[in-house]
């Protein structure tokens, strides 16, 4: 029965209306209005879903690892309420302000501490910084084979078989275990938490690990452990002006829109 590890990040809700987010350019920091609440990164929820489908078919266990500071328990516990077994929080002020490199350093140390596993599953990217580096970087740092952008993950005969999304379809790639998989949105909707799951999750206490707990110095993680320097954070200015086409009826507006495109030489 496979032992699965899923990495899941808490991010500001990416479905929040565009434009509600502001940037403090003097501090190079994003300012989130109170209306944007934190959620589990949607791609990571799909990684949890991929793990749950394997567990449904084969049994086994799912350990979720989340890294950050001030993690909201009701948010980061969501994978537990979906059906994951254990939650480990890498939570410490020292983890703040990290990049892919310092995040991977901490996650790799935590995974080594967890010990034996068959698969590490990550979302393809986090919906806040959208870099898409952590899963692949983690595989490099742990020396694992990696298959990215999975739309389907199966384990059989001690191997993992993955349908990997490519621009014009998908390819089927197999690897020995242990391995690391990143999951793409084509995997499909993650399941809802059940009431039973929510009850079970509320009783579970996550393990909380600091850098020292995973054998790291505070200088290796978070902002000081970065490889990339954030030089500038800003918001592009938009000068768009939309010419609204109106008519006696909406049908007429449709006709007039075509006419307008012709006079503007667009068609």
């Amino acid at each position: 029965m496979p032992k699965l590890i899923v990495c899941a990040k808490q991010v500001p809700d990416p479905e929040a209306p565009p434009g509600s987010l502001k940037v403090d350019t003097s501090a190079n920091k994003v300012v989130l209005p109170a209306s944007i609440s934190p959620v589990v990164n949607p791609y990571d929820e799909q990684a949890v879903e991929a793990a749950l489908r394997l567990k449904d078919a084969l049994g086994g266990s799912i350990t979720v690892i989340s890294l950050g500071n001030n993690l909201q328990r009701d948010v980061v516990k969501k994978p537990l309420s979906m059906g994951a077994d254990e939650l480990i929080l890498l939570e410490d002020p020292a983890f703040e302000g990290g990049d892919a490199w310092s995040t991977v350093t901490a996650l790799a140390a935590a995974i080594k501490k967890v010990g034996e596993f068959d698969l590490v599953i990550c979302g393809r990217q986090a919906a806040d910084w959208d870099a898409g580096q952590v899963g692949l970087g983690l595989a490099e740092m742990l020396g694992l084979p990696v298959i990215s952008l999975a739309q389907k993950v199966e384990v059989m005969d001690g191997r993992v078989r993955v349908e990997r999304v490519i621009p014009d379809g998908y390819e089927v790639i197999e690897s020995s275990l242990p391995a690391l998989i990143t999951v793409s949105n084509e995997l499909g909707e993650p399941r809802y938490a059940t009431l039973k799951g929510i009850m079970a999750a509320s009783k579970k206490q996550p393990a909380v690990w600091t850098p020292a707990d995973v054998g790291l110095d505070a200088s290796q993680v978070g902002e000081v452990g970065r490889k990339s320097k954030l030089v500038r954070l800003f918001q592009p200015t938009k000068e768009a002006h939309c010419e609204m086409i109106e008519g006696e009826s909406v049908e007429e507006a449709g006709t007039l829109l075509a006419d307008r495109l012709r006079t503007a030489k667009v068609i």
């Binding site: 565009p18 959208d130 952008l149 379809g169 490889k227 500038r232 049908e251 075509a258």
Partner: protein, 331 residues
Amino acid sequence: MASPLSVLITAEVNEGNLSPITLELLGSARDLAGKLGGQVGCALLGSGVADVAQQIIAHGADHVVVIDVPALQDYLSDTYTSVMETVVRQTDPEIVLMGHTSMGRDLGPRLAFRLGAGLATDCIELDIDNSSKQLLATRPVYGGNARATFATDTHPQMATVRSKAMTPLPPDPSRQGETVTLSTMPDLTVGLTLSDRVKEEVKGVKLEDAPVVLGGGRGLGGPEGFQQLDDLARALKGAVGATRAACDNGWWPASSQVGLTGKIVAPDLYIAIALSGSSQHMAGCSGSKTIIAINKDPEANIFKESQYGVVGDYRQVLPAFAKRVKDLLEK
């Protein structure tokens, strides 16, 4: 190589032809190398690809490192990462660039972590800092709601670049360059096996190349709405794309998803129908020359991104619009 290599790019070849992203990377690499006073190199990996080396030189490279072996026929994470690691160690560039494509999304982070290099992915702007001479790599973050410029103290510095963000140079067939091979080849035996490749048939114009793209969203309400878009797309010799929500619902093939995690299109005309214009989606089409929107919600974000718009239910607006467009095209 006599003079220092400022920028190394990774070429992509598709069915014997250089991919547009390669020409875009060469254009950007020439600009950066000019500011650093060094040369441009290009790694050309594949099987039966050596023929395009001359084209790569014509588009701006000084050196092409050709690794033309059957084992590199298809992109496979392990083999490409090992070969690129060897190329970077042999050529010792300041900067390594590749496309933020299916290949670069996988290869970029692996190579960066193997080399211990700082990497900025999905960049839309690259520049050199005047005083530090470091690469300044700018990329959209928070779903396109903000932009971040990164630099790094590592050697090399790495970036993957979004399609259609950079401008290619016109080819100059008289440009001189050299082709070289690798002095030592890495071990290409791998643990991964590629057992099958399943292609979705695309009828009509390819989405990325279409001069007109019709994009449909959740508001279409089902696959029937997409048939209407497809019908108009044929008349306009265009293609149909869809938002992630519509693809995830199975209304249109996932391979035609436009957005951050799908295809990037930059047509002359993008017709956004019954889609709200989320940042996720706009990341895939904001480079379009003209965007028009049909949406029943006057507050929809798509109107902030469009030059022309009609507020109304697409079921009423689109048939009238399509009919007039067809009439006008026949004239």
